[in-house]
């Protein structure tokens, strides 16, 4: 499958499929990568090094900063696969690359493709937005 590239990069990691939308600001501790949103069903799970599968987005415009800070702190997700395009995360990734030379690919995938990625699957993302499972 192939996604539209919102931020380019290479990544490999196991999928973390979010059961509910998550705002990075107020939802992820940028020092640890842990989900801290009190109402989120996956509270306590870490996004660090995972390929985050987010069918929909929500929340704060500070999420760009929080994503960049997780990169600086070394606990960013490996990649983010979105069901709808999100400028706020794409720009967070662009700034992290500019400041720290670390690229977190962010892709927008078709709904059916995104739905086929189950939690825990090994996912590889390439520069052009191709996504390989298993």
């Amino acid at each position: 499958m192939k996604g539209r590239v919102l931020a380019p990069g290479l990544a490999e990691g196991t999928a973390l499929r979010l059961d509910e939308p998550l705002s990075f600001w107020g939802g992820v501790d940028p020092a640890t990568g842990e989900i801290i949103d009190a109402r989120h069903p996956q509270r306590g799970v870490s996004v660090a090094g995972r390929v985050l599968v987010m069918p929909s987005v929500r929340g704060s415009s500070s999420s760009s900063s929080v994503l960049a800070e997780t990169v600086r702190a070394g606990c960013a997700p490996a990649a983010i696969l979105l069901g709808e395009p999100d400028l706020i995360l794409a720009v967070g990734a662009a700034v992290a690359e500019e400041l720290y030379g670390v690229r977190i690919p962010i892709l927008h995938l078709a709904t059916a493709d995104l739905a086929s990625i189950t939690d825990g699957t090994m996912v590889t993302v390439d520069e052009g937005g191709a996504v390989t499972l298993g």
């Binding site: 919102l6 931020a7 939308p21 705002s23 600001w25 107020g26 939802g27 940028p30 020092a31 801290i36 949103d37 009190a38 109402r39 929909s56 987005v57 929500r58 929340g59 704060s60 415009s61 500070s62 999420s63 760009s64 900063s65 929080v66 960049a68 800070e69 990169v71 600086r72 702190a73 709808e84 395009p85 999100d86 400028l87 706020i88 794409a90 720009v91 967070g92 662009a94 700034v95 992290a96 500019e98 400041l99 720290y100």
Partner: protein, 405 residues
């Protein structure tokens, strides 16, 4: 400019358009990455090219004595706020720039605003146009004076595609109760996600405070950047206008049960915090209180003060605090034991006194984020319920508007 172009590519824009103003959220400290970015801009000699207001920062610069946290963190927050002043931004430090006459855009104006609640208000209550911008993009647009010609800058994208119709089982009295509006916002965010929705069935001329409460909650539970309150939003004198003459993709009836459930979920405190539950704190003013809301706090206090040991804190902007001081309102509130916080918010800065008891709020957004951000249990209620609860030191409920016996 590279960031603005990157944003334009992500949004699929065909070109950039000039903007008249910007509102920048990047001045809130979230770790060293936020400082590193601002210093990169400063090193390049950047300056904003359009009038630019600043969102809340990490601390109250006018009342530093309210800070109860690590002094080192306060210094980093202060440094970042100063960096954005050096870039040419105005030190407004408010999440509600639309409440400042000088910062408020006119109908139809193209602007680049960040801060999720301000974005929704700008589009939905003023009819000025901004896409849902975030940190870094906001200052990049302010420096270049440009924004991508995409999303809500375009008339076609402002059409409501979802209609939320208020059910016939909603008691008319509930429409007069302040606690309905943040709850309705939570439901709107969940139902709409990032789509533009029209809310049909509200009375005409809903106040700006209530539109603000809907928007702030909807941008917390969803990614809402615009909604139409039919009969109140400037682009929605009628439902047909909100739909731009087309059919909606979806029409949903919002019944009382869904609203009641959303209201209950805003309270995280054990057992739903029935009347009589002791509370430690009441936090109002998220988004920043308007003068009308500050006056409502005084009216509801009715000359009383918060109970011993209970903190009643209201956040507002330094601009409106100056006006409240001019009319004596701020002095009267303080004399009655109300703490007034500016430049920041009580779920960002460590300002609330530590208490093992739950905190009460009238804000859907505060109820949404405070448990994760500052580790408090939350009780949600109307402004009246909050102020009376502060005076009694225990949860006071008026369930009648909700049709609860």
């Amino acid at each position: 400019m590279r960031l603005v172009v990157r944003a334009a590519e992500a949004l699929g824009a065909d070109r950039l358009i000039p903007i008249t103003r910007a509102h920048v959220d990047s001045c809130l400290y979230h770790g060293e990455a936020t400082i590193d970015f601002a210093e990169r801009l400063l090193d390049g000699g950047a300056q904003v090219s359009v009038p630019t207001t600043l969102n809340v920062g990490g601390l109250d610069l006018l009342h530093p004595e309210l800070w109860h946290g690590d002094p080192g963190a306060a210094e980093r927050g202060r440094l970042l706020m100063n960096h954005y002043r050096t870039l040419g931004c105005q030190p407004t430090y408010t999440c509600a720039p639309y409440q400042l006459a000088a910062a408020r855009p006119a109908f139809g104006e193209q602007v680049a605003w960040a801060e999720s609640n301000a974005i929704v208000f700008c589009n939905s209550a003023i009819g000025a146009r901004t896409e849902r911008y975030g940190d870094f993009t906001d200052i990049a647009c302010a420096i270049t004076g440009r924004a991508p010609h995409a999303g809500l800058h375009r008339t076609d994208a402002r059409r409501a595609v979802l209609v939320l119709r208020l059910g016939a089982d909603i008691p008319p009295g509930l429409l007069d109760d302040g606690s309905l509006y943040p709850v309705l916002g939570i439901v709107l965010g969940r139902r709409a996600g990032s789509r533009v929705a029209a809310i049909d069935g509200l009375p005409p001329g809903v106040s700006e405070e209530r539109l603000k409460a809907i928007g702030a909650a909807a941008a917390s539970s969803g990614a809402v950047a615009m909604f139409h309150a039919v009969g109140s939003s400037p682009e929605a004198p009628t439902l047909e206008a909100a739909l731009q003459g087309q059919e909606p993709d979806e029409l949903v009836e919002i019944r009382l049960g869904e609203l009641r459930a959303a209201r209950d979920e805003l309270t995280t405190s054990a057992g739903g915090a029935p009347a009589g539950t002791p509370i430690g704190t009441v936090s109002l003013g998220t988004p920043h209180a308007s003068l009308a809301e500050l006056r409502a706090v005084e009216r509801e206090l009715g000359g009383a003060s918060p109970a011993a040991g209970v903190e009643l804190l209201v956040s507002t902007s330094r601009g409106l605090l100056a006006e409240a001081e001019e009319e004596g309102l701020a002095q009267r509130l303080r004399a009655q034991g109300v703490e007034l916080l500016v430049d920041t918010c009580s779920y960002i800065a460590p300002v609330l006194r530590s208490s093992p008891l739950p905190a009460m709020t009238d804000s859907g957004k505060w109820a949404f984020y405070a448990p994760g951000n500052i580790g408090v249990e939350v009780v949600f209620g109307s402004l009246r319920e909050c102020v009376r609860s502060a005076v009694q030191g225990r949860v006071w409920r008026d369930d009648a508007p909700w049709g609860v016996a």
